[in-house]
Symmetry: C2
Subunit: 300 residues, 2 copies
């Protein structure tokens, strides 16, 4: 980390949020509340959402033109679906201020770094790839709130050449938003997130899909209880965003999906054979891990 | 339904709860609060749990001997894991009062009916198989509460020969507990519940199990967020209870598991091919169904 006096978060006169939804809107609210920014410009495709964002005080003004929106920004936060990053970078590149810091809230990191490389021919030294491990299944600026990141992790995946001052400033902003900042290699991030986030989303979408094709569909949903509601909550997430994430992190996701299917198949065989001991052992190990996970989370 | 004057729930002088955990304890509390029972005897294997149940006022007294516990009971509620039902029926049979009503809270219904047949050589006319669609992942009497069944469904699966007076009394008790009573064929119940409850539990146990075997286990759990917590909540359920349920409803569960795996495999192929349209279509259909499910639940 740099101890340079110039690497101060006080320098953020003008923040630009590209994609003023749950993630971008919550970041804007959190850093504004912390007094770290003077002016926030929003950018997005949905004008009603942008007007709502101004009305709610999440942003000060907006432009639907990325080139225009980023022109005078000191820090650019990209919170659009990860599939759009290459296009966003191309537009930013044309008009951004020299020295402006770019960071993001994308759920995959290798793909985002590749997109930057493709546009800039190298990963810009002021680009700090990031991923806040927080969210709800709701979307749009109205779903955003200042404390979304409170007590949540934010993973930053700077590269060797990333400017430590930029990393420092982005870290300070997340810390001010109440988050715990963790540094990780981008590829490693993608593997870990494939397991805890991308695979569960794929399974939840897939299960609900399967149930909708069954003859008993109506009764199935009528007789579902709280367990089912929680298990499938993430299947109410934004399809476009998750299409992007799955494609962007395809290799890691396929790897974990195949582990999962192989283990599930073993459990299936045990069930068919009536091997209660195998089921008992598997369920017990799962319960122990899950209980430990919750205990650790609560003591965070 | 019978309109007989004798089929009154006021007749429950003495209720026996076999298995004073979340389900049994909550039933006891709900019907006591509704003023429908005069005396409640608990029965179970864990003496500390039974003493706690007396201390909490959930039951009035207890016996660890089923034969003793049911001797003077007018209504016997069985809330033990479904794998124990044959043994429970055998013991009840020896000492139960003539005309006593038996009902249960078991998550599978065909297996429970088969267990009764095996013991009594027929399904007793005063046995009303039931399944409250409610629960949490917690266990033991301390997890129980009087409003667990409030606004939840209870499915009863009486047979043709079941005494309508017994069905009526059991229904009245559930209604007094705040539940909505639904009648269903036992086999149909098992198919529907395999889809909404048993399969999700199996998948949640299986996923957590797979993650515990990965090298990144520690980091995986450290970086998991709310979506993962909800998705895996049911993996904190009681392993013994779920071993029993899976084995008891093996055929229906295998059938739905195979549908699920076949669809998941299609999704896997689409992902590998980078077929974003397929993913988008699947995710969108899932989100729509899940959103409708939640909207309908909220308007119940």
């Amino acid at each position: 980390m740099s101890s340079s006096n110039t690497a101060s978060v006080n320098k953020i006169e003008h923040l630009c949020i590209i994609g003023v939804g749950l993630i971008g809107g919550s970041f804007a609210q959190a850093v504004r509340r912390a007094g770290l920014v003077k002016h926030i410009t929003g950018c997005g495709r949905n004008i009603a959402n942008l007007e709502k964002a101004v009305e709610l005080g999440v942003i000060d003004d907006y432009s639907q033109d990325i080139k225009q929106a980023v022109k005078s920004s000191d820090l650019i936060f990209i919170a659009t679906p990860v599939g759009s990053f290459q296009s966003v970078f191309s537009q930013i590149k044309e008009t951004m201020k020299e020295g402006a810091i770019i960071t993001d809230g994308g759920s995959t990191k290798s793909s985002v770094i590749e997109a930057a490389k493709a546009v800039f021919n190298h990963v810009p030294e002021n680009f700090v790839p990031g991923h806040p491990i927080a969210g709800t299944e709701n979307t749009g600026v109205e779903a955003s709130f200042a404390t979304l990141y409170q007590d949540h992790r934010v993973i930053l995946t700077p590269l060797e050449q990333t400017n430590p001052d930029a990393v420092n400033i982005v870290s300070q902003m997340w810390v001010a938003a109440g988050a715990q900042v963790v540094m990780m290699d981008a590829h490693h991030h993608d593997l870990v997130l494939a397991a805890t986030s991308h695979l569960p989303h794929l399974l939840a979408f897939s299960l609900v899909n399967t149930l909708t094709t069954l003859d008993e569909k109506q009764e199935i949903f009528e007789n579902a209880a709280g367990g089912f509601r929680d298990f499938t909550r993430i299947a109410s997430s934004d399809p476009a965003m998750w299409q992007d994430i799955c494609l962007a992190n395809k290799e890691a996701l396929l790897e974990h999906l195949d582990y999962f299917c192989s283990d599930l198949n073993q459990l299936r065989d045990a069930l068919q054979l009536g091997d209660g001991d195998f089921l008992m052992k598997s369920f017990t190990r799962a319960k122990q891990s899950r209980d430990e996970f919750v205990a650790n989370k609560n003591s965070d």
